[in-house]
Amino acid sequence: MSDVTSPGRLIARQSARFVLRERTVALLSLMFVVLVLISAWLGWSATSTVNRIYLDAAAFLQSAGQPVPTNPVLDISPLSLMRNMSVYVALIGALSAIVIGNRLVGLDRKAGVLPLIGIRPLGRNAYAGGKIAALAGLILGLAAVVSAAAVATFLVLPAVTLTGLQWAQLAGFMGVTTLYMGFFGLIGLAAGAAARSETVGLLLPVTLWLTLTFIFPQLTANLNPTAAINPLSALAVPPDTTFFHWAARLLGPFSLADAYKFASAGLLDYLPVGITSPSFIPPVINLILAAGVALALAWRALTRLSMTQGDYNV
């Protein structure tokens, strides 16, 4: 029904515009974009340097009549150059998504305009749908920046050509990245709608993010926080003890940062042989399930948001 969907689209468009005007959101998103560009540049720079040294050495060896070894750049999958991105997504990307989700509904509640929206001819579902659509648009926007940086890196890298399958893997990584940031954005949205105060609405998802990023990996795989944010050491085998065995079984399906890291490692070809995710659920399925639960929570919180008592300080 156009009467209902049209205000929903309007809510989505306006909410996204309002949120982008927020200094905190703009700064966090900018920081994320800058870090992603830096990680792409680092990958490009390291590979270019190795390739240049190889070419010089190959020319020297050739002129000296020596056998020329294969280019080390080609010994590993070029996709693994993007591994640092998974760290920035797990850290600043997820945090940006939380803040975006929170502000999407927090702005209305802080402004105190819920009664004025509530008396307009739009259903609560249209309001909820509009907010979720705005979040989806903004997260996709961030993911598009990540994608553009990755694609640009591969297009300008010398000696590297991606196969069709590798481009598909890269697209899969972007999909998983969108799903992961989407999960945190939806949790931010849900908490922003359900919490009584603005502070709690932001603290709850940030605490969840800290728990998933740093505490669960420590419990499931004995990873200290600094190791947890290293794309390679984060894929370690847990100690073979009863505690870690049961912790991995019980907490593994909830350890989403692990799921994201393993899914990324699999898609970007840097997952060491013989190492598997602590969860018995495949990482990508795990992320899809988590995003589904977060979507349900956000929908419930938004459709139940009181238009008379929902404003902060009421």
């Binding site: 309007l10 004025l116 008379t308």
Partner: protein, 249 residues
């Protein structure tokens, strides 16, 4: 008999077991300026929240412009405008940006043009490009009124519209209410504490006490029976707890 613009039938609301509005039944005719009086916590705002579909009643029914608030809330929302007691808007946006947003949400065609018309009507075009964050209470009240009439509603709900306004602001608002009623035929439902405003503006009044309707009549009948403003005040006080406390004292 024409269909009343607002009709409530045993409309009831309670919060945590405390009854806020108790089986309210009344009718308000088209074109009325209805003054809803009552002490703090009497249930006036709760009544408005139910009639504007912001809150669902615990029991009872009501229709606004012929539409049932429970079964057809979207149709009700198309026919109403609402100005809350404290008008709150997006502070970082200008008045015009706020109004265009609400106009679009109300399905107004050519919202920018309509916003200009309404600001002209309310004599506040000078506010259009100013950020709402720096507005005084009176300025907010004007923009609040503007957002409520953008879509030319049949019924306008005003919750304590004069609260916090200076005498100039009160007079300006009174003139606007009368104009909206006479020029555009809007039915006005107004919660207020000010007896003097009731006498100057309203065509019918009702008094709510502890959620119960204790008086409802046309203003002529009330003034004929109780006389001038001071007598209306006596009527109000005699019907509300404040009045009973005064009697005890």
């Amino acid at each position: 008999m024409p269909e009343p613009m607002i009709r409530t039938n045993r409309l009831t609301q309670s919060f945590d077991g405390v009854i806020a509005v108790d089986a309210l039944s009344m009718e308000i005719a088209k074109g009325e300026i209805f003054g809803f009086l009552g002490h703090n916590g009497a249930g006036k705002t709760t009544t408005i929240q139910m009639l504007t579909t912001l809150a669902r009643p615990a029991s009872g029914t009501a229709t606004v412009a012929g539409h049932d608030i429970g079964t057809d809330p979207l149709a009700v929302r198309r026919t109403i405008g609402y100005v809350p007691e404290n008008v709150r808007l997006y502070d970082t946006l200008t008045a015009a940006e706020n109004l265009v947003f609400f106009a679009r949400l109300s399905g107004v065609a050519a919202p920018e043009r309509r916003v200009k018309q309404v600001l002209d009507l309310l004599d506040c075009t000078y506010l259009a490009q100013k950020r709402v964050g720096g507005f005084s209470k009176g300025m907010r009240q004007r923009v609040g009124l503007a957002q409520a009439i953008l879509h030319q509603p049949a019924v306008l709900f005003l919750d304590e519209p004069t609260s916090g306004l200076d005498p100039m602001g009160i007079k300006m608002l009174r003139d606007l209410i009368l104009r909206l009623n006479t020029e555009f035929g809007m039915t006005i439902f107004m919660n207020t504490h000010l007896i003097s405003e009731i006498a100057k503006t309203c065509t019918s009044i009702a008094v709510l006490s502890h959620g119960k309707l204790v008086y409802h009549d046309r203003i002529e009948a009330a003034t004929a029976r109780y006389g001038d403003d001071a007598a209306l005040e006596e009527l109000y006080l005699s019907l509300t707890p404040a009045g009973r406390l005064a009697e005890v004292a």
